[in-house]
Amino acid sequence: MPIPPSLIKKLRRIVGRKQVETGPAELLVYESDGLRLHTARPGCVVYPASTDEVSQLVKVCCQAGVPFVARGAGTGLSGGAICDGGVIIQLSRMNRVLAVHPDDRYAVVQPGVTNEYLNLQTRGHGLEFAPDPSSGVSCTIGGNVAEDAGGPHTLKYGVTHNHVLGQTVVFPDGETATLGGPFPVSTGPSFSTFLIGTEGTIAITTEIIVRLVPVAPAVVTMLAIYSKVADATDAVSGILTAGVLPAALEMIDHLCIQAVEAHLKAGFPTDAAAVLIIELDGEETLMKREAEIVARVCRGQGTAAFYTAETDEERLRLWQGRKHAAGALGKITQAFYTNDGVVPRSRLTDIFQAIYRIGDKYGLRIGNMCHAGDGVIHPQILFDSDDPQGPGRAMDCSRDILLACLEMGGSITGEHGVGVEKRGYIDQMYSAVDLAHMIRLRDGFNPGGCLNPGKIFPNNAKDGETGSAASIPPGAGE
């Protein structure tokens, strides 16, 4: 359904002619986020510059009954920032760091600021925003808030909701509210925190007050190399049960190592079955003791080699290899599909056995990188995009892996959110009653269902036509 010209006119009046795009080329590029398997072309894209403009925009969209969705950088991996035939409210122009208060350790930012840019502005004060999604060079703080993003350093520092003190939001009816604030106020549950992770289905965040933490005074990064995946995963449990809490504890397996070494060259040995990246930070003497423990555990667990990055350069190279491993897959495959299932740490060894078994069953190659310390997996399922069955098979394969996670007592999403991608599985995790309550909560704020429809929940009554193009993955939710 095309957007009524009268609405386009109104949108233009609010943000200015040039800040509304309706041309086919301009819309084409908004068909998907980082996940290409779900596509839906919007009817137009608008670029607001302020909270007030966002408020006016949503008001007129709601009045016209046209769906709309907020979008940050579109690095999401669950098809969250797409809107079939509706209005994409693209927040990339709202990209300023409004204030940094080093003494009180907080900053106020617009939602389109990227993690990298925020840290560039605060590191001079010896402070940083701790959540570090691997996409941090491009993704936005607004996107972090919507997905409650985490990253390698989540293990020690927590996810986004541990680092957001308050936010200014616009509700679908155009009402604006400022929730929380830089200093603790003890008046019942935090409404701001409740909104974090709701994937932009309740309100649009237009300003964020983020907590800043001191940059660690010293860091040690180690690489443990294994010839068996099970040895690596056992070492993960070993390290954590030995009483060490690393800043990050990551694993990458053979296939992903191949992809990284094909172009990026982080220095991972290409014949290893898996490597662990273990990072410690904090006070020097304590760290030294912890490093000894880590080395002991890793060696006891049959590591083929173990070494410590000597220079900052080496350290950064290892991290680049880890953080950009997904992006590097283009070197070894035409297409891939990934998920972010979670298992209890004690089941890491089991889930990897299951993943490789499921891959064999579908005849698909699967590479892995994971936030091992948190039990968040990222199986990268490679498939042939020229094969019409390819995407379907990959999605089925992913579904089997997610169901295995659930069986082991885990969850279907650790950081990418549900979006359209996993809405077919959510009823495997929650009972019908749980879901009904969640939907009621959402509908209380989003009664017309115009804001980001078709996401998170299956068979949504408010879904109407707008969710149908982004279809539920084949075989899901059976």
Partner: protein, 429 residues
């Protein structure tokens, strides 16, 4: 599957290496200033695919975003899959110019006049006249010219009396002690560099000679054709390359040293298609491994380096400039986002003045924050753009090529000055 219109099956496969992760977005200057996905690397790659598959569909809309690409290749450095953006961009642009939208007459004219020696000589004479008579200030204040041109005029260096290659003997012998003689190199003099930034070539030649190299300046060399390639004029570029090939084919030297990043990037990839001719090297790259007599004294001014895209991204020469500058400067202060484009990008600053200036504004903010006495770069276009930007912003910092800074450190040494007959107070930074 293969492409339809202009990509070969191999190129189409290159396009597919883009996995749509978006990790390149944060490094793209045009995306940074306008926030449009269509003006991001990921968006442009999607548009290339779209154009290749169905170039009849709304070509204007999609090509507009291809036009707005600076060609800075920051996305290529950022991309973990190693997507060869530059190759895909050139292919798309050359198809666009050949089959869809020929290059506008004004750009054609500029390319023809600026890169052809004799015509550039005429322009240079005119600029010189205007500058010497003080008319340039008048022209700028009277607002006779379009604003982009006026802006660029403010960034022009004081044009020297002669083109570098005209003013010198064609062969410049080494002045190092005999036991430090290292052989011979050829210097690429180019077009605009030769006429307007001869002082950079002179500094390069001095430093090479001081470090034991004979410097050959082969006659008949011409523009490298980089601007033509960026504009999609493949044939014209090939014509210029062929002329240069003839000149350098029989030169007896160890390397062809280039001191303009843009020319270096072009010559490195295209001068010898079979890869077997005189090796093309950037001056920083060459000096980093061949400097035998580093400066004895260091400069004390606060100096910051802004990396030219065609050095940093196109040629991946990232560390060498810092290493050399450290030999010459006591206070080398890092500039945030030093590897992001300044918005110059050849003719881009003239054709897309508006967005070029927005890209520049971000850079100027950082320069204001760091407040160096001298801002260092390594490409004539960047030098002009940055100088114009600083003038407009009322920032006093001067803009120099890194080689000039190195040369200035050398000049503190009496022996160096004596060897090249330089006055004691010559070459103020």
């Amino acid at each position: 599957m293969s492409g339809y219109q202009f990509f070969s099956p191999e190129e189409y496969r290159l396009l597919q290496e883009c996995v749509h992760c978006g990790l390149c977005l944060g490094s793209c200057p045009t995306y940074m200033v306008n926030g449009r996905e269509a003006d991001s690397p990921r968006g442009r790659l999607s548009l290339m695919k779209y154009l290749d598959e169905d170039s009849a569909a709304d070509t204007g809309g999609a090509y507009h975003h291809i036009d707005l690409c600076l060609g800075c290749l920051a996305c290529q450095t950022a991309c973990p899959s190693g997507v060869r953006y530059s190759q895909l961009l050139e292919k798309t642009r050359s198809y666009q110019r050949r089959e869809v939208q020929p290059l506008g007459w004004s750009q054609r004219l500029l390319l023809r006049w600026f890169t052809e020696r004799r015509r550039l000589g005429l322009i240079t004479a005119l600029v010189r006249l205007v500058q010497r008579t003080g008319l340039d200030r008048l022209v700028r204040s009277l607002r006779l010219l379009p604003p982009t041109l006026r802006f660029q005029l403010a960034g022009l260096p004081k044009v020297p009396n002669h083109a570098f290659s005209r003013a010198r003997e064609p062969q410049l012998p080494a002045v190092a002690p005999d036991d430090q003689h290292q052989g011979a190199v050829a210097l690429f003099t180019g077009c605009v560099m030769d006429h307007w930034y001869g002082e950079v070539h002179a500094a390069t030649a001095r430093i090479l000679r001081w470090n034991g190299f004979d410097v050959a300046l082969p006659e008949g060399q011409t523009c490298c054709g980089a601007l033509h390639v960026h504009a999609g004029l493949e044939k014209e570029a090939e014509h210029l390359l062929a002329r240069n090939r003839d000149v350098f084919m029989n030169v007896d030297a160890q390397a062809l040293v280039v001191d303009a990043a843009g020319c270096g990037a072009q010559l490195r990839t295209s001068l010898w298609p079979d890869g077997d001719g005189l090796p093309v090297v950037d001056v920083f790259e060459w000096l980093a491994t061949h400097i035998t007599r580093p400066p004895r004294y260091k400069l004390t001014e606060k100096i910051s380096y802004d990396a030219p895209c065609h050095l940093h991204h196109a040629q991946s020469i990232t560390e060498e400039p810092y290493r050399l500058l450290e030999l010459a400067c006591e206070q080398l202060t890092p500039l945030p986002e030093a590897e992001m484009c300044c918005g110059s990008a050849g003719l881009y600053s003239l054709v897309h003045g508006n967005i070029s200036r927005q890209v520049l504004a971000r850079k100027i903010d950082y320069i204001r924050f760091v407040n160096p006495a001298v801002l260092v770069t390594g490409n004539p276009g960047c030098q002009l753009q940055l100088q114009a930007g600083l003038r407009e912003a009322g920032i006093k910092a001067s803009v120099r090529h890194a080689i000039q800074v190195l040369d200035n450190a050398y000049r503190r040494d009496e022996d160096y000055r004596y060897a090249f007959e330089l006055a004691e107070d010559s070459g103020q930074l």
